[in-house]
């Protein structure tokens, strides 16, 4: 099994890419073969991820396991350094799982202009980027994977997205929604990434100031944390903050998200919500906080403010939506606000809250976007004023929508509750040195945000699910949840319940790692 231990993560990362290259060789017309091949590749990747989880030493979750550290670009000291700990493991498994479910769902659901091969190839490339981001322990490697996800998503939105024409203020001509959304997504992220890269480079050069060889290695940079201080550290954190905050997205860098989500094809939205949004918050925990703990403490109040604004703002914006998919998209702004609030507390509970919040949001919002896609597929509209009585026309779909909405509003006993509750729990007593009254105020505002969340979710359910179906749909036959949908959704439903009832499924592996992270980051600076 030694061979497996050293190759497992590499395989999880690059198998999808290899699969994509092989798929290129399959003729475009042989759709079934392409589908089967990608399913096989993604399932094997998932199995590998599960094997890694099974062989993971939970007693040593704080350290990196399955580590590989090989020289890569020796000129700059960039290494092929990958590894996994308790923080990244749940996200890696989630990522591998969601890709499989997306392949299954796509089986019978193709947005125009179809072309399954191209779509699935993009999805596989995306998988490599996502999985790679979660295992990378070298900043160059991390950056490449982080950026790699951009391109496939750009094309998914730009090609398979919503084609309605839209007038953009400031521009003379109308543009297609998909183009606007894709470009907005791309430019926004690129904008953030440029700063992020700048931050990485600054860290690299500064890391050599102790007389040692400069390095991109994340654990090494953490060890050399004392080199980064003062204004330098503040600016570097700020640069990385911009890159990560756009990806999360945090208010006010979020406006690409509702557009991208609404315009993207269903599977694109699912991947975007379930995994892509986690890359930013994960990067805060993996890179920004451990390398620059002291500066993180300076920045924490600002992050908390933006997080809390995001919670309230996102919820209020949801209440103003008429398009069910756009509503779900805006809900991500609020939910990721809770994740970032947890991170901003810089406590064990808060960072733990962020991770379980990410996993829960991935499961729940992923499922919500699946549902939004299927509803659109049936009704050919997402306008809530035209929907209604869905529970009557499609009882199973309506039931699942109700269940997922309840999970999304943070019902205790389902996965979404723990992230919110623990984020608030952490805010009551943030890291020493942070203003207690400040974070307690944030806690109260966040708690009020949960009420608003419940408000728009219940309102959405009433609009879409309840009441009598409008005459528009009279006499039409609606196919309730089909086989592919059921297979794709069932694991998410089961996991939402399982994590809700037994959060140890996630926290059992994260807690030790988070405790280790917080201790090593803040013990040194008198935390």
């Amino acid at each position: 099994m030694d061979l497996l231990d050293s190759w497992a993560l590499t395989l999880i990362v690059f198998l999808p890419l290899v699969g994509a290259l092989v798929a290129l060789a399959i003729p475009k017309e042989r759709e079934e073969a392409v589908k089967q091949w990608t399913l096989l590749v993604s399932v094997v990747t998932l199995v590998l991820a599960v094997v890694v989880a099974a062989r993971f030493d939970f007693g040593a979750a704080a350290g990196f396991q399955f580590e590989v550290d090989l020289p890569w670009i020796s000129a700059i000291g960039a290494n092929y350094h990958i590894g996994i700990d308790g923080i990244s493991l749940p996200l890696l498994v989630l990522s591998a799982l969601v890709v499989v479910l997306c392949v299954i769902y796509s089986w019978q659901h193709w947005d125009e202009p179809r072309n399954p091969r191209a779509f699935l190839i993009l999805m596989m490339i995306l998988a490599t980027g996502m999985n790679g981001t979660f295992v990378a322990l070298d900043l160059v490697l991390f950056f490449i994977f982080f950026e790699l996800v951009l391109l496939p998503m750009y094309f998914m939105i730009g090609i398979w997205g919503d084609r309605t024409m839209r007038k953009i203020p400031g521009f003379r001509k109308e543009v297609e929604t998909r183009l606007y959304a894709a470009i907005k997504f791309f430019i926004f992220t690129l904008f953030g990434s440029a700063f992020m890269l700048l931050g990485f480079l600054a860290l690299y050069f500064k890391s050599g100031s102790g007389g040692q060889q400069s390095t991109f290695d994340i654990p090494e940079l953490i060890a050399r944390g004392h080199l980064f201080e003062g204004t330098f550290a503040w600016l570097v954190f700020g640069a990385m903050f911009l890159g990560f905050a756009v990806k999360v997205p945090m208010w006010p860098f979020h406006t690409w998200l509702p557009d991208a989500h609404t315009a993207a094809p269903t599977v694109g939205s699912v991947l975007l919500a379930a995994i892509l949004l986690k890359l930013g918050s994960y990067a805060f925990i993996r890179i920004a906080i451990p390398i620059l703990p002291e500066t993180a403490r300076d920045w924490a109040p600002a992050i908390a403010v933006l997080a809390v604004i995001g919670i309230i703002y996102g919820s209020l914006a949801c209440l103003a939506q008429t398009d069910v998919k756009r509503l779900i998209a805006f809900s991500s702004v609020g939910h990721m606000g809770f994740v970032m609030l947890g991170i901003a507390t810089l406590t064990e509970v808060g960072i733990n809250a962020a991770i379980i919040g990410m996993v829960a949001h991935g499961l729940i919002t992923g499922l919500l976007f699946f549902l939004a896609g299927s509803i659109h597929h049936r009704y050919h509209t997402r306008e809530m004023s035209r929907l209604g009585g869905n529970l009557k026309l499609m009882p199973v779909m309506g039931g699942i929508l109700g269940f997922t909405a309840m999970a999304s509003l943070g019902l205790p006993g389902l996965a979404g509750f723990w992230g919110e509750f623990m984020a608030l729990l952490g805010s009551y007593q943030p890291l020493p040195g942070l203003s207690t009254s400040f974070f307690r105020t944030a806690m109260v505002i966040g708690a009020i945000g949960t009420v608003l969340t419940a408000g728009y979710m219940l309102w959405m359910l009433q609009k879409v699910n309840l009441g009598e179906p409008s005459d528009e749909w009279a006499g039409q036959e609606f196919q309730d949840v089909d086989r592919y949908e059921m297979v794709a959704w069932a694991p998410l439903i089961v996991l939402i319940v399982a994590v809700g009832v037994y959060p140890k499924l996630v926290l059992g592996v994260t807690t030790d790692a988070v405790v280790g992270l917080v201790e090593s980051a803040f013990r040194a600076v008198g935390g």
């Binding site: 670009i73 521009f171 006993g413 608030l424 408000g455 309840l466 009441g467 926290l507």
Partner: protein, 678 residues
């Protein structure tokens, strides 16, 4: 009047003498899991079952009834039962642990039994009531969830599990109130219930967070211990935590002004109302206050006047609303709100036993009254008392049991309500809240008055509705009689100074608890006070009968006695619904719209403005270089995006290879950039 003040020692002594209850306690968790399992089974397989899943729900409840009865009997012995079991579900860092488990002590056994007893009667009744209704299967699934969540709540050894059960109850009530969701009225009532409770839950959650972080534990036991030793850590935040928990309790237990959801909640089928008003929902807040009683008794004493104020306003002001309601369920709903005010006031004043005893007796007669009302509604197909009248001849069983329930609620000697209400009055007097005590006596008058009105309008006079009403089938009347027995007798267990052989007294049942606490229980009847309470009840009944009975002169007069100012105020429910709706409107309309506007025009205005600016700049710099590409945003933004925009079109025409090549090239370029820059 016997006094036993600091009972912490006594309670601890009792705990030391308690038995664990053997396997009945060790497996008591089955009572929590059973109805939850029934929920899942019914949802998945109910439709294929012979009785559409009702048999599973009733079976689970019968199992619980037997199990909790055994525990109740065990607890009646000299020693009592005390057992607790917790399983860790996560360590979350900071030394905090989340746990699930169950607690078996006097308080929880009483709750297990009330939920199971009332639940069983209601479930059986519902099997008859729901015949021919829509979605019967899901209805029984949700009923099971309702009972199961309540059991998770009352069985919880810690505050986190309590929240889980708490919101589970809220969810189940949402599903059941909105059972007939085709009508917007019903789904709105369901939303109102869920939402009002969600608002209150903010208080509960923050209160739990304060306690959990301060103590490093969510256990009730640790909370009680900290309160008993006047913990220095908990002291400064105790009042805040206490008020916040109370705010949560105000939602579930419908205390003014968060009671507004409860009267609307009758939009659900009547068995739901019976369950909700008696056992599974509104008692949760009272239970929470009882469970955390030491906090209020020792540390958060400053919170108690506020709680008593809210309770007193609720018990009197909400009772008045029942005077003007035409809908029979609404009358009962307001009476529940008012009785919850009694319970809350009692617990807040220090009457631990008194409040819980009223919860206990109220559960039976209120379930009985609602099921009786359901039986009437079933017969006349209307909720309005203006469509009823003279039903005593048509529905003898319903009539007799309803009158029993009404007399018990009015507090007529020697029915159960008399004893529990008297204990509350006695406690208020003993604790020195004389004004509140007299308001409570006046409240008893109001209660008796509106119940006399309800009975008179429903069962006496001439029938005013349509068709020929007839008695409900035995499956519905038998639960009525089953509930009538405890409605009459339940008071016997706690007559001051009387200790029954074998059974002991209610106070003893509750004396063994995992949470030590002191409280006061009178050891002899205060005859004067009891007479005052009884006089108020009799006077209320008599006046109500005079005003609305069949001998009242004119029908118009009989239906309504309109007093200027007061009548419209009461009809409009003190305008509280208007206030709540106004608040929701502000959030829904101006606030949400403003945010959306800011999003689309301010933030995105900046984004699009920058984009447009780039486009203009690009136009200036490059002239007509790329005018033949696609128009609009694309070519304006940058060389890269313009290229990709064109690329999109090419891929659409099927040339993926180009794209793949480009992607690889892009990656290479990236690598080169990285290398080059460094």
């Amino acid at each position: 009047m016997g006094v036993s003040t600091n009972l912490y020692l006594a309670a601890e002594g009792a705990a030391a003498a308690a038995t664990t209850g053997g396997i009945w306690s060790e497996w008591a968790g089955l009572m929590l899991i059973g109805p939850m399992l029934a929920f899942v089974v019914i949802v998945l397989f109910g439709k294929r079952m012979r009785y559409q899943g009702a048999e599973v729900a009733i079976g689970a409840m019968a199992f619980n009834f037997v199990w909790s009865s055994v525990l109740l009997l065990l607890n009646m012995g000299d020693s009592g039962v005390l057992y607790e079991r917790s399983l860790e579900i996560a360590a979350v860092g900071g030394g905090l642990v989340f746990e699930l488990g169950w607690i078996v002590d006097g308080l929880s056994i009483m709750m297990y039994w009330v939920v199971a007893a009332v639940g069983l009667a209601v479930f059986v009744y519902a099997h008859g009531y729901m015949k021919g209704e829509v979605r019967v299967t899901f209805f029984f699934a949700a009923l099971s969830l309702f009972a199961g969540s309540m059991l998770v709540l009352v069985g919880s050894p810690n505050l986190v599990q309590l929240i889980i059960g708490w919101e589970g109850v809220g969810l189940a009530s949402y599903l059941l109130i909105g059972h007939n969701w085709e009508l917007k009225e019903n789904s709105s009532a369901a939303m109102k219930a869920f939402y009002t409770n969600k608002v209150a839950d903010v208080g509960l959650v923050i209160g739990v967070i304060i306690i959990g972080i301060t103590l490093g534990s969510f256990h009730f036991w640790d909370l009680a211990a900290a309160a008993a030793e006047h913990s220095a850590a908990l002291g400064p935040v105790a009042v805040a935590a206490g008020l916040l928990l109370f705010f949560g309790a105000m939602g579930k237990s419908a205390q003014f002004p968060l009671h507004i959801w409860l009267p609307d909640a009758m939009a659900g089928p009547t068995p739901v109302s019976a369950l909700m008003h008696a056992a599974t929902m509104v008692t949760a807040g009272i239970y929470l206050m009882a469970r955390t009683f030491p906090l209020y008794q020792e540390l958060a004493t400053a919170a108690r006047p506020w709680m008593i104020a809210a309770g007193t306003i609720t018990l009197f002001g909400m009772g008045l609303l029942a005077l003007v309601a035409d809908d029979i369920k609404r009358v009962l709903a307001y009476s529940t709100v008012s009785q919850l005010g009694y319970m809350m006031t009692a617990v807040a004043a220090g009457g631990y036993t008194a409040g819980l005893f009223h919860l206990f007796t109220h559960a039976f007669f209120k379930a009985l009254l609602f099921l009786g009302a359901g039986s009437v509604i079933h017969a006349v197909h209307s909720n309005n008392m203006s469509d009823m009248g003279g039903l005593r001849r048509h529905m003898p069983d319903t009539y007799r049991t309803f009158v029993i329930g009404a007399l018990a609620l009015a507090g007529v000697f020697p029915l159960s309500g008399f004893w529990s209400k008297d204990e509350i009055l006695a406690t208020l007097g003993y604790e020195g809240y004389n004004l509140v005590m007299w308001i409570a006596v006046a409240g008893a008058f109001v209660t008796a008055f509106y119940m006399a009105r309800a009975v008179a309008l429903t069962f006496f006079g001439e029938y005013r509705g349509h068709g020929e009403p007839h008695e409900s089938p035995p499956i519905m009347t038998r639960p009525l009689w089953a509930l009538a027995v405890p409605a009459v007798l339940a008071g016997v267990v706690n007559i001051p100074g009387l200790k029954l052989p074998w059974i002991g007294s209610f106070t003893d049942w509750l004396s063994v608890r995992s949470v030590p606490m002191g409280d006061h229980h009178a050891e002899a009847i205060d005859v004067g006070l009891a007479a005052a309470g009884l006089a108020a009840a009799v006077a209320g009944l008599w006046l109500g009968w005079r005003a609305f009975g069949p001998s009242a002169a004119d029908r118009a007069d009989r239906d309504r006695v309109e007093i200027p100012v007061l009548y419209p105020l009461l009809r409009q429910k003190y305008y509280l619904d208007h206030a709540a709706l106004g608040l929701v409107w502000v959030i829904r309309q101006p606030a949400a719209r403003a945010v959306n506007w800011v999003n689309d025009y301010v933030i995105d205005g900046v984004v699009n403005g920058v984009g447009a600016l780039c486009q203009r700049l690009a136009g200036l710099l490059y002239g007509g270089v790329d005018q033949h590409g696609i128009d609009g945003v694309v070519h304006g933004l940058s060389w890269g995006t313009s290229g990709m925009g064109g690329l999109i079109r090419r891929i659409q025409s099927g040339r993926v290879q180009q794209y793949a090549g480009l992607l690889v090239a892009g990656l290479l370029l990236l690598a080169v950039v990285v290398l080059f820059v460094l």
